[in-house]
Amino acid sequence: MAREPELAARQAHRAEIRSRWLLSAPALIIIFVAAVGPLFVMLAYSVMVRGDYGDVRFGEFSSEGWFNVFFQRDIFDDTITYADAHLSIFWRSIRLSLITTVSTLILGFPTAYFIATRPRHTREVWVFLITIPFWTNLLIRTFAMQEVIRNEGVVNTLLQALGVIDQPIQILYTDWAILFGMVYVYLPLMVLPLYASMERLDFRLVEAGYDLYAGRFAVLRRIILPLVKPGLVAGSILVFIPSLGAYVTPRVLGGGKNMMLGNLIELQFGAGRNWPLGAALSITLMVIVMVALLFYVRNASRSGATGHG
């Protein structure tokens, strides 16, 4: 009789775990079918022989897809060289994403700080003003940027009217355009996490800093910056990752020539008709993103371990 309650408890526990699996089943199945599973299929595609009109030849395996990510074979003499075109797109994607991240940080940090130091009731309004662009369509915002930097757009018209230039500067369809566009569309992603950590900033610590003879810059660098580091890392990751995989912005603002990884991938599934290569490129992109995320997780757990005083 003494064991009876324990048995009941164990049964109840097991029933609870079972119902928890049942409850999460729909979400898990949907995500498996329409997000995770296809990634595995894609992995398989990356090691198959390309079909003549796109697709692959099932069951025929080849390392050509992966080979083509980094190398190219000359059609005539079979010499192997680096796939410069791909590598330069990789490099451009990474470079543009890094510059985007730093730029959003330069604009976003003071902005988040500004919002966090407003009186409580007006703060909400400022946050709201950041949230609106965050939730409005990325394509529309890219399109808006296009209108601004076009040769006949506001920037050029204004500069011409002021006599600074007499020919419009070609911004659209350059790397600058992609950069402006990405900074513009991803800026809220930097401000929001930064603000979240600054809002919790205890300004008595700042006062303590001034009390101990720190100047404004010293307070910023030695007190504020370390305390909001989690937000800073989160914001950087949130900007860097979508920048790296950006597709719409470079397509609209970069034109056909200035491709980023996203566009290179698309090309393989469209005109390029090289699905194995496209799959291999996608997986490469995903791996870079995973590395960035891992860096974030390590950083987050470390700053979590040091804790808040």
């Binding site: 609870e16 949907i30 329409a34 003071p110 939730w135 394509l139 513009y184 910023l220 996608s282 992109l285």
Partner: protein
């Protein structure tokens, strides 16, 4: 005039912040203004007119795309919210159990993979499935949208659940409510703001999607964003601005509603 020392001040920060806000809103403002341009061009202002709104409203392709967007968003957001709410109930307020980390990772997976990667992976799978089944309806889009909406719907429901006082459900059980009645009468009503917020987030996210839709859709299945993406390749008239403006208004409306619902519960 002497200025008192302000602890919170950092030199130049306010200026940069104002510049940032101007930069954020200026392009959108210009886009909206030119939607009301009388002329065909996006360069010269030729007077105020609503003609492009009228043109957009009479454009069957636009109307169909808009309707399709709404249908997909409504289905995807509904399915995602139901699945996410169930998942949130299954993954919160519990001791760690085997598989919990796996569930978190699965539910948040769509947030961690670049959209273009998911998009081409779905293209690969669905193009094959379309061949096998012969079905090429909106189901694929709804399924794909549901998947990437789940983490967004999950977030507010989970937050709400984690802030909910566990004692409330204990209290209901103590007052003779069976588990089902406790759920119906206590848990669900308390969860409602989170569910509404989750639905709205999912709806907006689905409505805004370009990349996955672009790769999953079959011929003639343009949504408003993919329709606009197609238009941007051509000579653009202010009609695109008009469509974008309407779209923008809808988003702002939903976000504002979301903002106020969220504020109410706090």
């Amino acid at each position: 005039m002497a200025r008192y020392f302000d602890v919170k001040r950092q030199t130049g920060f306010a200026t940069i912040a104002i510049v940032t806000f101007v930069l954020l809103y200026l392009p959108i403002a210009i886009l909206v203004i030119y939607a009301f341009n009388e002329g065909e061009s996006l360069a010269n202002w030729e007077g105020f007119s609503l003609r492009w709104f009228v043109a957009a409203a009479n454009n069957d392709a636009v109307k169909q795309a808009a309707w399709r967007s709404l249908v997909i968003a409504a289905f995807a957001a509904t399915f995602a919210t139901i699945a996410a709410t169930m998942a949130a109930l299954a993954t919160t307020r519990t001791r760690r159990y085997r598989g919990l980390t796996f569930k978190y990772a699965m539910i948040n997976q769509p947030l961690m993979v670049p959209e273009i990667v998911t998009a081409v992976a779905l293209l690969i799978v669905f193009s094959q499935v379309k061949v096998w089944t012969g079905y090429s309806g909106l189901g694929y889009l709804i399924l794909a949208h549901t998947a990437f909406c789940i983490p967004f719907a999950y977030l507010p429901v989970r937050a709400r659940l984690e802030n909910m006082d566990l004692a409330l459900e204990s209290a209901a059980a103590d007052l003779y409510a069976t588990p089902w009645k406790t759920f119906r009468r206590i848990t669900l009503p308390l969860l409602q703001p989170g569910i509404v917020a989750g639905f709205m987030l999912a709806f907006v996210i689905s409505l805004d999607d370009v990349v996955i839709t672009e790769f999953v859709k079959s011929g003639g299945q343009d949504t408003l964003p993919t329709y606009m993406l197609g238009q941007l390749r051509r000579v653009i008239t202010p009609e695109v601005n008009a469509i974008a403006t309407l779209f923008l208004a809808l988003s702002v409306l939903i976000v504002t509603a979301f903002f106020f619902i969220n504020r109410q519960k706090a």
